[in-house]
């Protein structure tokens, strides 16, 4: 019974009560993923599973056998930070940094959703290709709270990377 975390196969917990979040933090010592509310309300624990953003606090680790999990630790490459990590620094996308790993993983999942045309609550036309306006990014990222109120910088950082990538 194993799970792939940032490209490496790791064992699953034997106790099915262990959440994916606790497994990452306590067993694998990947403490980049944060525990905010532990009840689905803040987004601090967001990770990517097979490229989709989910909340690791509401996920039982055993449910994710053989799936591929990416955490904040898995984003930087040999040649440096992930472009979004760099953009968060350049655009003041954080203060204390507690929500940041979740924000960044969430934004990567969000970009993939928008790229394949998933509409959002604020999309006027459900059938149109997605344009990542400020309003769209705000709505799509509303599952990630920031107690420091760095939201403007967060939206700027996301738009500067993801939206710019598309505009190119």
């Amino acid at each position: 019974m194993s799970l792939i975390v940032n490209g490496e196969a790791v064992a699953l917990p034997s106790d099915p009560r262990v959440s994916l979040l606790d497994h990452l933090r306590e067993a694998l010592h990947l403490t980049g993923t944060k525990k905010g509310c532990n009840q689905g309300a803040c987004g601090a624990c967001t990770v990517l599973v097979d490229g989709e953003r989910i909340l690791s606090c509401l996920a039982l680790a055993v449910q994710y056998e053989s799936r591929s999990v990416t955490t904040i630790e898995g984003l930087a490459g040999e040649d440096g930070l992930h472009p979004l990590q760099q953009a968060f620094i350049e655009h003041d996308g954080f203060q204390c940094g507690y929500c940041t790993p979740g924000q960044i993983c969430s934004a990567i999942g969000m970009a993939a959703e928008a790229g394949r045309g998933v509409p959002s609550h604020v999309s006027v036309d459900l059938g149109a290709p997605v344009a990542l306006t400020r309003e769209e990014v705000q709505e799509r990222m509303s599952g990630n709270l920031c107690r420091c109120g760095a939201h403007n910088g967060i939206v700027d950082a996301i738009r500067a990377t993801v939206a710019a990538e598309w505009a190119a």
Partner: protein, 329 residues
Amino acid sequence: MTPFSYARAGNAAEALRLGAAGATAYLGGGTNLVDLMRETVARPAALVDVTGLSAVIEETDGGGLRIGAAARNTALAEHRAVRERYPMLSRAILAGASAQIRNMATVGGNLLQRTRCTYFYDTEGSRCNKRSPGEGCDARDGFNRIHAVLGASEACVATHPSDMCVALVALDAQVHVAGAGGERTVPIADFHRLPGDSPDRDTILAPGELITAIELPTLPLAARSTYRKVRDRASYAFALISVAAAIELDGNRVADVRVAFGGVAHKPWRALKAEAALRGGPATPEAFHAAAALEFAEAAPLRHNAFKPALAGRTLAAVLGELVKGEAA
């Protein structure tokens, strides 16, 4: 969390066999059940993971759609046929929870998320008839801004929190259920219960029964439909009031209409009285307000939610007005 065993079902027959044991719960995305287990509100002895069951979204012979219970909420909201033919359903799903939760949540789990309020979670500090039958309800005289105004009972005044289900009742969806005794199909409007004397039961599902699929009928008027949710913050909050509506016009008159409200009752509320009042009448703001007033004539507001009937009326009028002008879809 209380200890439990975990098993994954590969198909419906296996799920039913595993689910037949007492104190077993099916597990979808876990976004409601894991939370309730952590708070020890739910204490199953065994979990049967049903996320491996059919998640297929396919056309039916009759021109409707059949949606496997394991389909994720995001998959349903983004499906091309849903966006084009049942836009209110896409919009309702997109108005609920957060993108991360919608990626995890299954259609079956969304239907069966508990009708609840915050007191329901407060195992140590509050009385709740839904959690502990007969104990009393602290919401009745407590903070009850988000609570029910229609169909509530002395025992419980909670609302069903699902946005998706409000669209499903407006669309006359059918719920396919499998159990030890075979399969049955339940109209969604009869699936969720009003609380009465037994608020511990949210639906008509019997222990061990499994949702296998939901089915949307052919409904051409649904192509002109939408969903509007009014809440205390712009996103990521439960509804104070929500409206799912579809309308078909014949000149200036209402040829046909579908209306359902969320945030008003223990179940998603199909507004049959409002629909009957509207059908054949003028498509005017006055008529829309009058129809809502009729639907809420027997509303029984609590201390903090007396605004709901009026808000429901304004929301319905706004939504139908938009649809008539062709501004929403």
